[in-house]
């Protein structure tokens, strides 16, 4: 069954950052504004991340009715409701599994998962690494806020060693995951990192990920000043923005010459590097839905061949 879309026609704007386009216009095209308020805490990084995703949809030129997003539980879990896209808001950690099904069943959809760090790397880690291994054409966006925010700030697999959370009041005893390294190790063909303190760069990373043919992973460093920040000496949103700004360096290999971002360039001698931003991995590999389509064509040809003989 196909129903003609009554949505306003979207003119894709290619290869221009287009940050000047009025926000209202983009909101009209891509977003769904809640009647009373957004569910994010005041100053939360998720709002900025959401804005970057919206701009990235525009930059990548997607038809929002052909976008399917998936997510589970966490602070971010309302975000799927705030877009005009289709969305599964399911149980904790299954975003990549839903995305696998959506993309395999309808490869023409643009499939994006919106997941938190606990959601993606703790309970949903298995689905994440296996989706990456298959190199299926989905975009996984991980909002890394260093803790389980929705439940009140317990440590997550990403919580930095020694930092304080509700369940590590004496300091986090476990080493943290580097989500990007995990993704690269699992076989993700596109891996990038950015922070909400670098909105233009973040938008570009997400747009590139959406346009990428294959499994794309973007780690969005997104502050939670209310829980993690407060317990670790950064109680205001601005403290954490400064923290991101001060500790970020750019992986130069990913920056085209015509796009400059106000981020220091990474050098190997850098001692205090916390976040290397930019595209950290990019390799061409066979894409899973295309490979499966070939297998299917072969199987179907075999059956019709048999029926004829």
């Amino acid at each position: 069954m196909s129903v003609q879309s009554e949505m306003p026609a979207i003119k894709p704007v290619k290869k221009k950052l287009d940050l000047q386009r009025p926000l209202d216009e983009l909101v009209e095209l891509y977003a769904e504004i809640p009647a009373r308020q957004f569910r994010y805490c005041p100053g939360c990084g998720l709002g900025m991340a959401q804005s970057a995703i919206m701009r990235a949809f525009h930059r990548a030129g997607v038809d929002i009715t052909k976008v399917a997003t998936a997510g589970g539980s966490g602070c971010y879990s309302v975000m799927g409701h705030y877009f005009k896209s289709n969305h599964i808001h399911g149980s904790h950690g299954r975003g990549c599994a839903y995305a696998m099904g959506m993309k395999l069943a309808r490869p023409e959809l643009t499939v994006v998962t919106l997941q938190g760090d606990g959601d993606l790397l703790a309970i949903g880690g298995n689905h994440f690494i296996h989706a990456a291994r298959r190199n299926i054409d989905i975009t996984v966006i991980c909002f890394n806020n260093y803790n389980f925010g929705d439940t009140g700030g317990q440590f997550a697999p990403t919580t930095p060693l020694g930092s304080k959370t509700d369940t590590s009041t004496l300091g986090m005893p476990e080493p943290a995951f580097d989500a990007c390294k995990l993704a690269i190790g699992a076989g993700a063909s596109f891996v990038a990192r950015s922070t909400v303190a670098h909105p233009a760069h973040l938008t570009k990373m997400i747009a590139d990920a959406i346009e990428w043919k294959g499994f794309a992973f973007v780690e969005v460093m997104q502050h939670c000043h209310v829980l993690w920040g407060r317990r670790n000496g950064m109680p205001e949103a601005m403290d954490m923005m400064r923290f991101y700004k001060d500790n970020s360096v750019l992986n130069t290999s990913s920056v085209p010459e015509d796009e400059r971002f106000d981020i220091p360039i990474y050098s190997e001698d850098e001692k205090n590097v916390k976040f290397v931003l930019g595209v950290l991995n990019k390799e061409q590999k066979p894409e899973y839905t295309e490979e499966y389509a070939k297998l299917r064509a072969k199987a179907m040809a075999k059956v019709t061949g048999k029926a004829k003989s």
Binding site: V3, S91, M100, M102
Partner: protein, 384 residues
């Protein structure tokens, strides 16, 4: 019609295909593995997709995603795999995503006894998930029925926008019988209700006004804003996304509607076989493979002059209490043979409460089938 010597698990697989399933996600587990094996060959042949996921949670997630795009989807598992699936089962029932899940029951708790058979998941099928979710569970007795009932399961899941569990058993899944398969094009298929309004008038996938409503669901990518969720959605659709979670009123309506939409269609989905119950003094109530031993016992009992009858439950959930009462109108006693410690007996007991009918079970949990002789022995014991 093509006559084939068909494996029970292949019958499930063919039933899914005949029912229109074109997406299957699976994870190997004895004794359901043959379904995944067959689907890995058959799905691409019929233009569908087979994906082998990293675990049973992943299988459920993938079929939920696929069904959201409008493609009929299914998975199969057993024992501990079914236990893992409970989370997503509840989620897809409350998000009203149509799915079929085949449970080829194995024996025992925990990892159980993989190659052995049992009937131990009657209650899990209904009460295994958190929250108050309803269940539609169909249980075939023979290979041929496995095929037809799986087709029906797909139809019911679409009609009701819910998950339908086909409760198979190891000894059925690994049984072969000669079956006449029909031409699949001749089978009548049901489709989920889809929106008839334009996208800007669409009020979401949960736009219900009455408890019996099965609201339309929009396929992902069909032009609608389609959200599948159990929170942030009001009963009249759309919902207030300022708050995540339902108001008391909406929660009450949603949970009651999930049950009522099924109960209001109970006549359509309650399947059973009733044999010689009209004058039966003793009624055997059984489901799945063990119902066949009950039928065998009935014939032997009748030959001995005992007025026995059989009620074979095909739809196990929603449990057909009224049918049980009708079939036992003349009964002095009921024998419930089952390969567990009395799960259906408990349900029969509640259906026949205050009737004075004596209810006894013949129970085995050693994975060996209950024989007609054992049922007969119990019959003599109860009637004496």
């Amino acid at each position: 019609m093509t006559k084939r010597l068909l494996l029970g698990n292949d019958a499930f697989c063919e039933g899914l295909i005949a029912g229109g399933v074109r997406f299957y996600a699976g994870y190997p587990i004895t004794p359901a593995t043959e379904i995944a094996e067959a689907m890995s060959r058959r799905m691409p042949e019929v233009g569908g997709t087979y994906v082998q996921m990293e675990d049973e949670l992943g299988s459920m997630g993938a079929i939920m995603g696929a069904s959201a795009t409008g493609v009929k989807s299914a998975t199969a598992s057993a024992g501990p795999g079914m236990a893992l699936m409970q989370n997503e089962l509840g989620q897809s029932i409350v998000a009203e995503i149509p799915l079929v899940v085949i449970n080829v029951q194995r024996a025992g708790p925990g990892i159980g006894n993989a190659t052995r058979s049992g009937q131990m998941e009657v209650m899990q099928s209904r009460y295994g998930s958190n929250g108050e979710v309803p269940a539609v569970v169909l249980s075939p007795s023979s290979v041929e029925e496995a095929f037809w009932l799986t087709v029906k399961a797909v139809n019911f899941s679409e009609m009701l926008r819910t998950v339908v569990i086909v409760l198979g058993e190891g000894m059925l899944g690994l049984q072969r019988a000669v079956v006449d398969l029909p031409d699949y094009d001749d089978i009548k298929l049901a489709e989920r209700p889809r929106p008839s309004v334009q996208p800007d008038e669409f009020l979401g996938n949960y736009n219900a006004n009455a408890l019996s409503d099965v609201p339309p669901i929009a396929d992902f990518g069909a032009g609608y804003k389609s959200i599948l969720s159990s929170v942030g959605i009001s009963r009249r659709g759309g919902g207030d996304i300022s708050v995540l979670g339902l108001s008391e009123d909406d929660q009450d309506f949603t949970i009651r509607r999930l049950h009522q939409k099924i109960l209001d269609r109970k006549n359509e989905i309650t399947l059973f076989e009733q044999l010689m119950t009209e004058d039966a003094e003793i009624v055997y109530i059984a489901f799945g493979t063990q119902a066949l031993s009950a039928i065998g016992a009935m014939h032997e009992a009748r030959a001995k002059g005992i007025k026995a009858g059989v009620l074979r439950l095909i739809t196990v959930w929603p449990f057909p209490e009224d049918i049980v009462r009708t079939c036992c109108a003349k009964a002095r006693a009921v024998v419930v043979p089952e390969m567990n410690l009395g799960q259906v007996r408990l349900l029969v007991g509640s259906a026949l409460a205050n009737t004075g009918i004596k209810i006894v079970g013949v129970n085995r949990v050693d994975s060996i089938t209950i024989t007609p002789a054992q049922i007969l022995e119990k019959t003599k014991e109860v009637l004496s």
